[in-house]
Amino acid sequence: MANEQLILEVKEKIIKALNLADMTPADIDAEAPLFGEGLGLDSIDALEFILLLERDYGIKLKNPAEGKEIFKSVATMAEHIEKNRTK
């Protein structure tokens, strides 16, 4: 489980990157699925996440398909960032 501070940071970055107006970090459940239900994100949002990982944490996905597991929830994203970040 990634630390609380990183989880909060990821939530804030998601809200900003995806222009989720009117949402606050408290509105996002870290364990809930990001795609399919919940926030109703789509394929372009997934591409924005890939950009976010690369730009803010120096993590480059070799294959966009890896994103499927990593972007399951805020918690899985934060975990991946903690393990792989280069900045």
């Binding site: 995806l18 109703g40 789509d42 372009i44 949002d45 591409l47 950009l51 690369e54």
Partner: protein, 619 residues
């Protein structure tokens, strides 16, 4: 139905239609590996010109020989220029945006309409040129516009030019979408993993009638070498998926609908004495979009299968030229015509093992056309949910006669001879509905500028102005479509304007294929183009995929179609000024009887500077 007078192609594979056709037939490809850059550290495959030329120069160089060959006077007011492009001069933003936007504002050639004027004026043409900016279907949408403008009698000849310049902006954008293949593309193959970009310019010229006079003195020697058939653009259709701005429909909805509509010929031309099946029986092949992305190729296979056409050979030319964007529809049409003349179904370069869910007749090898078939179908799909299909037929010259006096004609295909005859309209055999001029009525209208919102003549009280206005309208009057916040300023403007119109209209909103969305502006998606360019000019050179998607102006029409489940045509045109008469003419010619449209001007050159004047138009 309109007649092709001349064509030309300039691509990295060669100069001239025949040079390109010979190269393709020989299996050559212009796709090659390019070294890594700051934007693309892994390098990429593309088909690019070695020499650099501006967008306008490329258009002019391509059109000039075609105009000469067609023997038309380009300076005549009976000629219109229709330009198909997705990004026109966007690459001029490169470097220019590093400092401020004032540099850009001073350089108006970045507005597609301004670039088009450079081209049409170079030829001395007095008419307003029309830019078709309908994402990757632009090349067919432009030919459909040619069909309409000539059939309506607004002009006698249309010079259709398709071109795009591929540079850092476009390449990084497709990279941000993870759509680029790291190797030569493999359309429909099980191992396909994306598209290659390509540069090209292609020009096709259409007229209402066969140009040469059969009664002129004939040179026997010359006559013997000439084929007595001409190419006709018979019909075409554009349909929206109403599904997603960048993801193709999983059911091939729009592509299937466009395909069926083009084959049914709708009101463009009805073929007397023959049904849809006899039209289908003459189709030698379907030249599809076939970009080699996972979802496009799968979607097209579903659409073709749903239309019951999976027994017709299918090919795509992306393996030879890459995806040439605004040029693609024109280039691929011209080469398909050359292939039919040569009795050949061109092979799909890069294809080996079928990798789509439906069984299609695909081959990497050229094959002879069976049964002397003289028609083909061209398909394209693009962002914004757009799909287009056109039917082209090669018909006997002496049989093509248009009765333009009463503007009604009966088209008849004599199956064994494969010729057509136009006969005088008689009694209930009217097959073409001729709408009187100005039949459209503005049911509701809305005007939005940074300082005011006026709906059906009444000023709305919105407590905001300038860049904050559109969000204020959304919050006060709409509020149930959070995707609004992801839109670029142009899409936000068109979206709120359409919502206000629909609220004025009232009633239940039902999915429909009877309402089109047709919008116009001058500068395309310039506001979002500048935003995207800022990203790639930044320290990481990373462009945002969601910003890139909106760098296609037709996305706003797609957003409206998706929100309301409109399966009819969506189109976006760039013209220099909000010329009401021109817009009305284009919309009128686009609508089948019984249809309505959300249409009008939707211009947004920056977040501070926008102007919409849109209508619900009904017949």
């Amino acid at each position: 139905m309109i007649v092709k007078l001349a064509d030309n192609i300039i691509s990295p594979l060669g100069v001239g239609t025949q040079a390109n056709y010979r190269a393709v037939k020989a299996g050559l490809s212009a796709l090659k590996a390019y070294p890594a850059t700051d934007l693309l550290p892994e390098g990429y495959f593309a088909s690019l010109f070695d020499d650099k030329a501006s967008f306008e120069e490329r258009c002019i160089a391509c059109a000039e020989p075609a105009i000469k060959e067609a023997g038309i006077d380009a300076a005549s007011d009976r000629v219109i220029f229709i330009i198909s492009t997705t990004k026109a001069n966007v690459e001029l933003l490169d470097g220019a945006s590093a400092g401020s936007t004032t540099v850009i504002a001073g350089c108006d050639r970045q507005s597609p309409a301004a670039a088009a004027l450079q081209v049409s004026r170079w030829f001395g043409n007095p008419n307003t040129p029309v830019v078709v900016s309908n994402a990757c279907i632009s090349g067919l949408a432009a030919q459909i516009e040619a069909l309409r403008v000539i059939e309506s009698g607004r002009c006698d000849y249309a010079v259709v030019i398709g071109a795009d310049v591929v540079g850092r902006f476009v390449i990084s954008g497709f990279q941000s979408l993870k759509a680029l293949s790291p190797e030569q593309c493999r359309p429909f193959d099980a191992d396909r993993c994306g598209l290659n970009l390509g540069e090209a310019a292609a020009c096709i010229i259409y007229g209402a009638e066969v140009p040469s006079s059969p009664s002129a003195p004939q040179d026997d020697r010359k006559e013997a070498s000439q084929d007595d058939r001409v190419w006709c653009a018979v019909s075409g259709a554009i349909c929206n998926d109403a599904n997603h701005i960048s993801g193709p429909s999983r059911t091939g909805e729009g592509s299937y609908r466009a395909l069926m509509a083009a084959l049914d010929c709708l009101s463009q031309a009805v073929i007397a004495g023959s049904d849809r099946q006899s039209v289908v029986d003459d189709v030698a092949f379907i030249n599809v979009h076939g970009t080699s992305t996972l979802y496009n190729d799968e979607m097209e296979s579903i659409a073709i299968d749903r239309a019951g056409l999976a027994n017709i050979p299918v090919n795509t030319l992306k393996g030879y030229f890459g995806h040439t964007l605004g040029a693609a529809g024109v280039l691929e049409t011209i080469l398909s015509m050359a292939a039919v003349e040569d009795g050949t179904v061109l092979g799909t370069r890069g294809f080996e093992n079928i990798g789509v869910s439906r069984t299609l007749k695909l081959s990497s090898q050229n094959a002879p056309i069976e049964g002397g078939k003289q028609s083909f179908v061209k398909l394209l799909s693009g962002f914004g949910g757009v799909n287009a299909a056109m039917l082209f037929s090669r018909l006997y010259k002496d049989a093509v006669f248009t009765n333009r006096l009463n503007d009604s004609a009966l088209l008849k295909i004599d199956a064994p001879k494969r010729s057509i005859d136009f006969v005088e309209n008689s009694g209930n055999q009217i097959v073409k509905e001729n709408a009187p001029k100005n039949l459209l009525r503005a049911k509701h209208n809305v005007e939005i500028t940074p300082s005011r919102v006026v709906l059906d003549g009444a000023k709305l009280n919105v407590e905001a102005e300038g860049p904050a206005l559109l969000e204020a309208i959304y919050r006060k009057y709409i509020g149930d479509w959070p995707k609004f916040f992801k839109m670029d300023p142009l899409a936000k403007l068109g979206f709120v304007a359409s919502e206000l119109l629909l609220q004025a209209e009232g009633g239940d909103r039902q999915p429909t294929d009877k309402r089109a969305v047709i919008l116009f502006n001058r500068s395309g998606s310039l506001a979002d183009d500048i935003n995207y360019q800022r990203g790639i000019d930044g320290p990481d050179h990373l462009g945002s995929p969601s910003l890139f998607v909106y760098t296609l102006p037709n996305i706003v029409t797609g957003e409206i179609a998706i929100r309301n489940k409109y399966y009819a045509e969506t189109s976006f045109y760039c013209i220099p000024e909000p010329d009401e008469e021109l817009m009305q003419g284009i919309v009128e010619e686009s609508l089948e009887p019984g249809m309505s449209a959300i249409a009008g001007w939707c211009e947004c050159s920056s977040e501070n500077d926008f102007n919409a004047k849109m209508y619900i138009l009904e017949g």
